[in-house]
């Protein structure tokens, strides 16, 4: 790979990160809404750990942390899409296209920034969990697995957001996919054990990669590293990131052709 490509990706990533940090109104929803949801879920449904079929956990907060992380990463994907769409609307994207840089760097620069934000999101929820009494049964190795799956999945969700933005070309359309994000999230085992989901969501959850991503992050927290679900989580995250990057690059090609 050309070192120039990496320099461009790095420069675009830094610019994206600066833009994100300058606009707290974009960062706030990434953590505020999942935190509120986490608080209500834990406060309202903590007794559900006594239901037959619920896995053995130290507390409902431990179980819910992975769900909150998944929700936050999905919202992060929407935020990445909105940021890309705003660059298209504002004309900055066209100026980048006109500059002598590798085109795919436009996608990967933003995704590198998304990976940093995703790591920040994971850190936030782990700290929040520790403050309120949660623990990671998998220890340091478990924490690393949570970061690995979370960051890879976060980049995947960001790539999906980018693909939508490159096709739609406006921020309000990207924002409009938010209800869909909720649908995908609820149709997974992100918030409750798969065995206890109602029909037909239990069936859908089995085919939903989000279930495997959430369970992959959850297992090191509630049980420890080494279980099958960790491998499944990593595979699901890698498949999501691979497929999503492919779709984003195709969308970029379409957009460049139109330009």
């Amino acid at each position: 790979m050309d070192p120039f490509f990496f320099r461009v990706v790095w420069a675009l990533a830094r610019r994206s990160l600066r833009g994100t940090l300058r606009r707290p109104q974009f960062i706030a929803p990434l953590v505020l809404f999942p935190s509120m949801f986490l608080a209500v879920n834990v406060g309202g449904l903590t007794r559900t750990t006594a239901l037959p079929g619920f896995p053995k956990v130290s507390g409902f907060l431990d179980f819910q942390l992975a769900g909150a992380m998944t929700q936050s990463l999905l919202i992060g994907g929407v935020a990445t899409g909105i940021a890309t769409a705003l660059e298209i609307e504002g004309g900055f994207f066209d100026r980048l296209v006109a500059s002598p840089i590798p085109r795919v760097a436009l996608v990967f620069g933003r995704l590198l920034a998304t990976s940093v934000v995703a790591a920040g999101q994971i850190t936030y929820f782990l700290v929040l969990g520790f403050v309120f009494g949660a623990s990671v049964q998998g220890g340091v190795g478990g924490v690393l697995v949570v970061y690995l799956i979370g960051v890879v999945a976060g980049v995947g969700f960001g790539a999906i957001g980018q693909a939508i933005a490159l096709r739609a070309k406006n921020a309000s359309t990207v924002q409009g996919i938010f209800p869909l994000v909720l649908v995908v999230l609820f149709a997974s085992s992100a918030f409750f054990p798969r065995k206890l989901l109602s029909s037909p969501v239990d069936t859908v959850a089995r085919a939903n990669p989000l279930s495997y991503i959430a369970d992959g992050m959850r297992t090191p927290i509630i049980q420890g590293v080494g279980a099958t679900s960790v491998t499944e989580g990593i595979v699901a995250a890698v498949l999501v990131v691979g497929g999503a990057c492919g779709i984003a690059l195709l969308a970029l090609r379409g957009r460049l052709r139109e330009a």
Partner: protein
């Protein structure tokens, strides 16, 4: 008086026109409470096995969806006002020879009417899925409380919009609606809540509104659940309406 009614009517019509002219902007607000209701009941449905719910989880959660719809509508009213401020339309509106209280009433009334849209959609879906249909009195009380809560949230988000004068304050408006509705007995009856949430729901006046809406769906309508809901609503409207009116009075000076 009749002139004020005309102005209020015009502002309500303008708000309703937005729905038909920009349906894409209204759809997420209409769909979200129903998605929440379906999602929560599918995911946490087995929670009703813990006892104390007196109904299946979906029926228990339907009133929460109705209030969420009201909350989203109220927040959207503030966001729309912020957009009008940013675009300069609100400054032109202030030039019209109508009392500012009338303008506030028009904007708030539009929220009350718009809140019926997500509520109706949610009820149609819920009834189709087997949620028992309440009595006419129960439905009527629910509709009034939903409209009232939309007014409360509209007053709050109008205050925020007048203070910050930018759509970027939207998360602040939405988060208040989220906290107001969910930090109650939304997910479980009071005895099943953790201590901190039980305390929060005791303090939160929206709990009374939620219980007022819920009584029509679980059990039956009783005076003991009805009057606290309307008193709580009146109190919230008085406080937040005063703040919104104060913000509007100070705007531009």
């Amino acid at each position: 008086m009749s002139r004020s009614v005309t102005v209020i009517g015009a502002l309500v019509r303008r708000a309703l026109n937005e729905i038909s002219r920009v349906p894409g902007a209204a759809i997420p607000g209409v769909l979200a409470p129903t998605i929440f209701m379906l999602g929560l009941s599918s995911v946490f449905g087995k929670a009703s096995g813990l006892g104390g719910y007196h109904a299946d989880f979906r029926t228990f959660i339907v009133p929460v969806g109705l209030l969420q719809g009201a909350g989203f509508t109220g927040a959207a009213t503030g966001v729309n006002l912020a957009r009008d401020i940013e675009g300069g339309w609100f400054d032109r509106l202030l030039l019209c020879p109508a009392p500012r209280a009338t303008l506030l009433a028009g904007v708030v009334a539009s929220a009350a009417l718009r809140a019926l849209m997500p509520g109706t959609f949610l009820l149609v879906v819920a009834f189709a899925l087997g949620v028992p249909v309440p009595t006419v009195t129960g439905l009527l009380i629910a509709a009034l409380l939903v409209m009232g809560l939309a007014c409360v949230m509209a007053c709050f988000s109008i205050t925020i919009a007048l203070r910050f004068r930018t759509q970027q304050a939207a998360p602040l408006m939405q988060i208040a609606s989220f906290i107001g509705v969910l930090f109650t007995t939304s997910y479980a009856p009071k005895p099943l809540l953790t201590d901190w949430l039980r305390t929060a729901s005791d303090i939160n006046p929206v709990t009374h509104v939620l219980e007022g809406v819920r009584q029509g769906f679980i059990g039956g309508v009783e005076w003991q659940h009805t009057w606290p809901a309307f008193v709580a609503l009146a109190g919230m409207i008085a406080v937040l309406g005063t703040l919104a009116a104060r913000g509007l009075r100070r705007y531009g000076y």
